[in-house]
């Protein structure tokens, strides 16, 4: 307010929309940019997989099985002579879809439940939380197995199963945040102004719970990809010859002494994608918080 130099810059800032401010901040965050680039590369791979892949990912050639990386097969071939690079490219489609869709399912169901449970409390909260207790008592992967068993085997059902298994995590997380945020002065102020409960939850409480939700989601995408891989390993997920990274990993495990590239590269792919989501999530959390945004 005092120095005139900064006022004119701020006047400019004023015209920016919230969205552009978030983008601007994200651009300054080097980690987030790296993550964004990694994810963009995976996205391009997923979308243009048929154009980029040198071979059909399901084309087997037993004569050239378990070959080391070479000019012809840059990441080598697997036990059936299929091109690893092509399989990893196509696998990014499945993994991205599993990560994003299952987390969306968890968010869409878990966040509202947690918010209502934390905000209203009382009998509803008690009932909800006991239900969540039961769900949490089982390891997530076991819960996912149960759901897949009920729904049937397949990638779509794996997404639903992993999503359902992550609901209790979100519900607990959001409930906890809501419990602390609803005691804030501005929530009382909103009530004093006659603002309705729905609007208070959406406009005042949830935006202030965003940090943990975003961070949890980026971890959850990683977890979802790994759970899906686990289900694939148990034969409940992507069915062969579908190129799913987790399934490739567990299959390649058998040949790790003769052909380590079968586990190394799908593993690296998982690592990079998970890292990308984590970096972007971290940057997004800071960018969405006005307090962090201005202080550089």
């Amino acid at each position: 307010m005092s120095e005139p130099v900064s006022t004119c810059r701020r006047e400019e800032l004023k015209r920016d929309t919230e969205f552009r401010q978030v983008l601007m901040h994200l651009r300054r965050n080097r980690g987030a940019m790296v993550g964004l680039i990694v994810l963009a590369v995976f996205l391009i791979c997923a979308v243009f997989a048929p154009l980029l892949a040198p071979y059909d990912p399901t084309d087997s050639n037993l004569g050239r099985a378990l070959e080391k990386p070479s000019a012809e097969h840059i990441l080598g071939t697997d036990e059936l002579g299929r091109d690893s690079f092509s399989r990893i490219l196509f696998g990014s489609r499945i993994s991205l879809a599993i990560g994003l869709i299952s987390v969306s399912i968890g968010l869409v169901v878990g966040v509202p439940l947690g918010a209502l449970s934390g905000f209203y409390g009382g009998k509803f909260d008690l009932f909800m939380q006991r239900l969540i207790d039961i769900l949490i008592a089982f390891p997530g992967i076991l819960l996912a197995i149960v759901v897949v068993t009920i729904l049937g085997v397949g990638v779509e059902n794996v997404m639903i199963a992993v999503g359902v298994a992550s609901i209790p995590i979100y519900t607990r997380l959001v409930r906890g945040s809501v419990l602390s945020v609803k005691e804030e002065g501005y929530v009382a102020a909103a009530r004093a102004l006659g603002i309705g409960n729905t609007r208070i939850i959406i406009r005042h409480i949830l935006p202030n719970c965003l940090g943990p939700i975003i961070v949890q989601s980026t971890f959850q995408i990683a977890t979802a990809i790994l759970w899906a891989a686990g289900l694939g390993f148990l034969g409940l997920g992507a069915q062969p010859p579908n190129p799913e990274w987790g399934a490739m990993l567990s299959k390649g495990r058998e040949y790790i002494r003769v052909a380590h590239h079968l586990t190394t590269y799908p593993g690296l792919a998982i690592l990079l994608m998970v890292l990308g989501f984590n970096l972007v999530g971290d940057g997004l959390r800071d960018a969405l918080d006005p307090k962090f945004r201005k202080s550089r």
């Binding site: 307010m1 006047e11 004023k14 804030e184 002065g185 501005y186 009382a188 102020a189 909103a190 009530r191 004093a192 102004l193 006659g194 603002i195 309705g196 609007r199 406009r203 005042h204 935006p207 202030n208 965003l210 918080d289 006005p290 307090k291 201005k294």
Partner: protein, 336 residues
């Protein structure tokens, strides 16, 4: 002022909090945060509620606005029983009565710009939206000593005093008639306090507002208030017009409070009344007069009989056996 109908009438207001324990949440006892408070506030006046921390001032203020639900008692605002209003009617009523908060840091949503925070209520009540909303918000910002270009800023860009101005602007934007100011300056630097007090005074004149001013700072209250109510352990012990109160405090507790206010004159000898002991727990208040455990004039009668608020002189009420010259007090022996 008394020829008007009171704007706010509070009768026998009680707010007890249960103390629970065990698996089945057995209620062991109650914390009597507000215990039988009755008062009337007239249009255009500033009624100050004073007392030390924990005496129930804030709880009383919040209960009057129905931010908390009282255990017992009635609150009439402009003749209407606030406690019986349904949800929709209560929301309508919120336009008339507003709250200014103590802590300017937690009372503003860090993710909302100033414009959104102040303008939201206008939208919810269907008063103004879009450009009209912006115009109204910018106007109220200027009235409260801020600038219209603060509209797009976030709360963390402001100092404590400015934040409190935003909080005041938010409370005023609905053009309420009655405002509960809950220690609006106690969280601020001393240098800022006077600015905010003067702002509140200016606004009170400009809009003809009625205030319930909650404070523990008697020198600020002297500047702001028309009438003063002193609370001790959840109950009113004295109520009086300002000048009368400062020149002739009746209740021993009020006298002790006033003796603690610093005086500008270093040579003036002042009798300082030091209260012994602590405030008793509101979960287990002493029998009889709440104050008898710390009162230098206490007699055995005080420990058995609770004094009620009675008029001592015109407009000056006090709850004290000694001041009211009750014969049973005279007859009993000194306490302790």
């Amino acid at each position: 002022m008394n020829e008007h109908e009171p704007m706010l009438r509070v009768e026998g207001l009680k707010k007890y909090y249960p103390v629970k324990a065990g698996v089945f949440s057995r209620v062991l006892s109650y914390v009597r945060a507000v215990d039988d408070v009755s008062l009337e506030i007239f249009p255009g006046e500033v009624y100050a509620l004073v007392g030390e921390s924990g005496c129930g001032k804030t709880t009383a203020g919040h209960t009057i606005l129905r931010m908390l639900h009282p255990t017992a008692g009635q609150v009439y605002f402009q003749g209407q029983d606030i406690l019986s209003l349904d949800r929709a009617a209560l929301r309508e009523m919120r336009r008339e009565m507003q709250l200014i908060f103590q802590d300017p840091y937690s009372s503003l949503n860090p993710r909302m710009t100033v414009g959104e925070a102040i303008g939201e209520a206008l939208e919810v009540h269907g008063i103004a939206r879009g450009a009209a909303r912006r115009e109204k918000v910018e106007h109220i910002l200027e009235v409260c000593g801020l600038a219209s270009y603060h509209y797009r800023r976030y709360p963390h860009e402001f100092s404590g005093g400015q934040r409190q101005r935003i909080g005041i602007a938010r409370a005023l934007v609905l053009e309420p008639r009655f405002i509960v100011a809950d220690e609006p300056i106690s969280a601020l630097d001393v240098s800022i306090q006077s600015q905010i007090v003067n702002l509140l005074k200016k606004l009170q004149k400009q809009f003809g507002l009625t205030f319930l001013f909650i404070s523990h700072d008697l020198s600020v209250v002297k500047h702001m208030a028309d009438r003063i109510g002193v609370m001790y352990l959840g109950s009113l012990v004295e109520e009086s017009f300002k000048n009368e109160f400062y020149s002739n405090p009746l209740h021993p507790y009020s006298q002790a409070l006033l003796s603690a206010v610093p005086v500008m004159d270093p040579f003036r000898k002042k009798e300082r009344i030091i209260l012994k002991g602590d405030v008793p727990s509101p979960a287990n208040p002493p029998g009889g007069c709440n104050f008898h455990t710390r009162c230098q004039y206490a007699r055995t009668f005080c420990s058995s009989e609770k004094p009620v608020l009675k008029e001592f002189s015109r407009g000056h009420q006090v709850a004290c056996h000694m001041v009211l010259d009750e014969p049973d007090y005279e007859r009993s022996t000194p306490f302790g």
